[in-house]
């Protein structure tokens, strides 16, 4: 479902981006620029059919789109500052605020432990100052961006993605996940490696269910057997990534863990996009790559719920989310503009009733 309000400012050739809050805690819809979506579709289909010869770099954003982005960026700055603070004040019981669902570009070996905007290339108005970081991105070996923990073959395990470890509260860990390693002592915090230890997904799901059940028993809550269904693997797609991944929602107990895991999984694709203009080894960054990076920046996680509507991750309590989420999609921030519904309210943006439903 796509709603298109009548915002003159946002009526662009490329399409519209709207988010609309209908009721508190109810659905809100992210609209994806339809033409941009088609453009991406063409791209994706196009590259699969290429048989030989050079693959043309991912379409550079037209100058118009850059303008669009700049505009949005400008507006976003205004938006971004307040809402995150307010959201975090308001929903302290929810682990999520906007920033925490964002994927950041974490570099192997570099530290982006906290979700500080300063280290990041972000649409949230921070300067694109990290040319060094960018160079590292380009120069880094491909292997570094595998979604496994980067393994140093001299026998140590590098701590690549330490993102947001310190942001997480110290928790008594149920053995569903060991991403927070707050007892950091040598060997330093271990990251969870994909597919290790080698336990089949069926068994992992079952164990996760058992632990949840036990937790509930402790709290003297009853869970019907039918609720403890075996599988909570949901597909995760990221715009521009070549293939889907699957995550097991029962592995995590809050939004921060989930977003951390997603970040780990998908950082390699983000880097890939950065490199679309060339491959590591090329000197510096071309202007086009920089523009590509503007594209890339912040990502927002959305999910499709049982009713088929796309919602922003983080609005509802975690348990409710795990029960209703059917699949996840990581969109670029540029597509999910205005996704802070409360911010919209704050700003007094009233949604126009003149809405058009597309699709």
């Amino acid at each position: 479902m796509i709603l298109v309000p009548n915002y003159a400012t946002y009526r662009k050739r490329d399409g519209f981006l709207i988010s609309l809050l209908l009721k508190k805690k109810k659905k809100f819809l992210c609209l994806v620029a339809s033409e941009r979506k088609r453009e991406r579709e063409r791209e994706r289909v196009g590259y699969r059919k290429v048989q030989e010869g050079s693959f043309s770099a991912s379409t550079k954003p037209s100058s118009f789109s850059v303008l669009f982005l700049t505009l949005l960026e400008h507006d976003y700055i205004g938006l971004a500052e307040k809402p995150s603070m307010e959201i975090s004040e308001k929903s302290s019981h929810l682990n999520l605020n906007l920033k925490e669902t964002e994927l950041r570009l974490g570099l192997p070996g570099s530290e982006s432990p906290e979700r500080k905007p300063t280290n990041l290339i972000s649409l949230f108005g921070k300067d694109l100052r990290n040319t060094n970081a960018l160079k590292n991105l380009v120069a880094g070996s491909k292997r570094g961006f595998s979604d496994d923990a980067v393994v140093d073959f001299e026998g140590k395990i590098n701590n690549t993605h330490k993102a947001s470890q310190s942001a997480k509260p110290k928790q008594d860990k149920k053995p569903e996940i060991s991403e927070t390693n707050d007892h950091v002592s040598p060997p330093s915090s271990k990251e969870q490696v994909v597919g290790w230890p080698p336990i089949r997904s069926f068994r992992r799901n079952t164990m996760a269910c058992s632990l949840i059940k036990n937790k509930d028993d402790d709290e003297e809550e009853e869970r019907k057997p039918s609720e403890a269904s075996g599988f909570l693997y949901v597909k995760v797609s990221m715009d521009g990534a070549p293939y889907l991944r699957k995550v097991d929602l029962r592995m995590y107990t809050n939004y921060m863990q989930l977003s951390s895991a997603l970040e780990q999984m998908f950082t390699c694709f983000t880097i890939g996009e950065c490199n679309s203009g060339g491959f590591p080894g090329k000197d510096g960054l071309s202007e086009s790559s920089l523009r590509d990076l503007l594209h890339v920046s912040v990502h927002v996680v959305t999910y499709e719920d049982k009713d088929g509507d796309w919602m922003l991750v983080g609005d509802v309590p975690w348990e409710m989310f795990t029960e209703s989420c059917r699949r996840l999609r990581i969109m670029k921030g540029s597509e999910a503009i205005g996704l802070a519904p409360r911010a919209m309210e704050k700003k007094g943006w009233s949604h126009n009733n003149n809405c058009r439903r597309i699709k």
Binding site: R48, F55, K142, S146, V151, R200, P242, L244
Partner: protein, 585 residues
């Protein structure tokens, strides 16, 4: 002595061949001469295809016109651990369609790690008049609607086994689709399903099927209902319970116990989700009959597990969680002298510190006490060379040894040395070892041992091990019977792969992920070996053409095939062929 072969009419040869069931023997027969090839192919009834892309459905149908049973495997083994992306392949559809038109009398379909749709299930249910056996092991892509079609239309269904498949669970109503006249069920395994199935439908089904021998329920079936169900199926040999937990009620307990005793053939128990200690003793009256016990979902504490296991003196197979601890395994070693297979699963695989007292000592005691032990899967947090050497010396009859030390690259905890010597002893002493999984800190040395001693080794799984290409080279050049090799996160690279290119045609498949293999090598391999499919899975967009030769491949899957490139490769899989990566769309 000319023409001896023609002295026997074909019918006689066919009759002789009908006593030969093993696939390998059948394959050998077909190589003797052309007429034997012809006769054999007309009378082959059952076929096993270990890699569904090694041959095409059309070829199979053409060669074997009278098949009754087919087994297929799709995705690589590491797909179980989330290493193979979604939509990689393994589609059963083309096979089902080909068989639907060619084999109206097909009786059995067994699929493992394949993707199957509801449409295919419906096609199966309608195309094969005498369809009897459907086993879907770790499959996905279908829902309970497809199962409803099978239930409704397969009048002679004997076996429906969904072990560990990922089924989209729309409702439990599909079970009611079995018609009232349905009597042929012998085996039903629905343990992977999440939602409740109607107990009435189950009871009705069981009442109508007196030959039911194997019933594995799903977690949603409560313990109280189990009693009724057992009452209706007195001929059960294998039972998988539902959730083994309930309010502590003495009458439920005694009913349960009586129900177990009432099934006089019962030999195998599984299920036991959330098993409560209170109800475990209900099994004691039949414990001496049990040969197989799967407690791997029972999160019960050690003493209760130990008590139960000690009662089962005739146990041959035990799957259990590490709650059993070393002390429990010692008790097992004392009581169960006929134990052949042991699997110990971790209760807390992602925790940093051990949560139970399970170490290498448990495995050592079992290896000492159980003379028949052949197959081991063991997750633990520490291991020593001394322990492995002891195990190897105790159990030279070991055929499958899979050890997973939870922390990657962990050395011998006593000496801090690599575990090369320990695993070396395993391959040296266990001359019939067919399957081996390594873990812990390992150098190239261990591969040297494997290459020189592992002559019967058929499947090897390696993770976070080795120092250089030599490791891979030792294995590929030394293990004569190697069929499947899967490697992750090891510094194996181009040299070993290219030097042993010919070996790859003698194997079913090779999986390498996060190793040091370059694109250039893959292209070269693809060019030189046309009967291999060298498939790379890439993260970046665009074909590997534009990637420099030295760029490393993230995931590589090589398998032999007579069917050429596969037609269903997704966007991120590319087949290497010489100078340009080819995509056939």
């Amino acid at each position: 002595m000319p023409r001896i072969a023609y002295a026997f009419p074909d019918e006689v040869l066919e009759h002789v061949f009908s006593f030969i069931h093993s696939d390998q023997d059948r394959n050998a027969i077909s190589l003797v001469c052309k007429s034997w090839y012809e006769i054999e192919r007309w009378c082959r009834r059952s076929i096993f295809v270990g890699n569904c892309y090694a041959v095409s459905p059309v070829m199979v149908v053409k060669r074997f016109p009278k098949l009754r049973s087919i087994s297929l495997k799709g995705k690589p083994h590491f797909a179980d651990f989330n290493l193979v992306p979604e939509d990689w392949g393994g589609y059963a559809c083309p096979w089902i369609e080909a068989m639907a038109s060619a084999y109206p009398w097909l009786e059995e379909i067994r699929l493992k790690r394949m993707v199957l749709t509801d449409e295919s299930l419906e096609l199966i249910s309608k195309s094969f008049k005498n369809f009897q056996v459907l086993v879907l092991s770790s499959c996905e892509g279908f829902s309970t609607d497809g199962l409803a079609a099978i239930a409704a239309n397969c009048r002679n269904l004997r076996e429906l086994d969904l072990r560990e498949s990922e089924v989209e669970d729309l409702s439990g109503h599909w079970l009611s689709q079995f018609p009232d006249s349905f009597t042929s069920l012998v085996s039903l395994n629905i343990s992977c399903l999440g939602s409740e199935v109607s107990t009435c439908a189950l009871e009705r089904l069981l009442a109508g099927c007196p030959n039911l021998q194997s019933l594995r329920l799903n977690r949603a079936v409560p313990l109280e209902k189990l009693v009724n169900l057992l009452g209706r199926s007195p001929n059960l040999v294998e039972l998988g319970t539902g959730a083994y937990t309930s309010e502590m009620q003495p009458d439920v307990f005694s009913d349960l116990s009586r129900a177990f005793v009432g099934c006089k053939q019962l030999k195998s128990l599984s299920g036991f989700w959330d098993a409560m200690p209170y109800y475990l003793p209900a099994v004691y009256p039949i414990s001496s009959r049990l040969t197989s016990l799967n407690l791997s979902y029972a999160t019960t504490e050690s003493p209760y597990l130990v008590k139960l296991v000690s009662e089962c003196r005739n146990l041959q197979r035990l799957w259990v969680m590490d709650y059993i601890e070393d002390s429990g395994l010692e008790a097992l070693a004392v009581s169960c002298k006929d134990l052949r297979e042991l699997r110990v699963f971790p209760s807390d695989p992602f925790g940093l510190e051990p949560n139970v007292a399970l170490t290498e000592r448990g495995l050592v005691s079992v290896s000492e006490g159980c003379p028949e032990l052949q197959s081991v899967l063991y997750f633990c947090r520490q291991m020593s060379n001394a322990a492995l050497v002891t195990i190897a010396r105790n159990r030279p009859n070991m055929t499958r040894f899979r050890l997973c030390i939870i922390e990657p690259r962990k050395p011998d905890y006593l000496t801090l040395q690599p575990l090369d010597a320990g695993f070396g002893a395993i391959v040296e002493h266990c001359k019939n070892l067919r399957r081996l999984s390594l873990s812990g800190l390992l150098t190239d040395r261990v591969f040297e041992y494997i290459g020189s001693y592992g002559k019967k080794l058929e499947m090897l799984s390696v993770a976070f091990a080795g120092d250089s290409d030599l490791g891979l080279h030792y294995v590929l050049s030394g293990c004569d019977n190697l069929r499947k090799l899967e490697v992750r996160d090891c510094p194996f690279g181009d040299k070993a792969l290219l030097a042993n290119a010919a070996k790859l045609e003698t194997m079913r498949s090779l999986w390498m992920s996060s190793c040091n293999v370059s694109f250039g090598a893959c292209k070269l391999l693809g060019q030189k070996m046309p009967r291999l499919n060298v498939e790379v899975i890439i993260d970046e967009r665009g074909p590997p053409d534009s990637m420099p030769e030295s760029c490393l491949v993230e995931k590589l899957y090589i398998y032999r095939t007579v069917a050429g490139p596969r037609m269903d490769m997704p966007g991120f899989v590319w087949r290497m062929e010489g100078d340009s990566a080819l995509r056939v769309s």
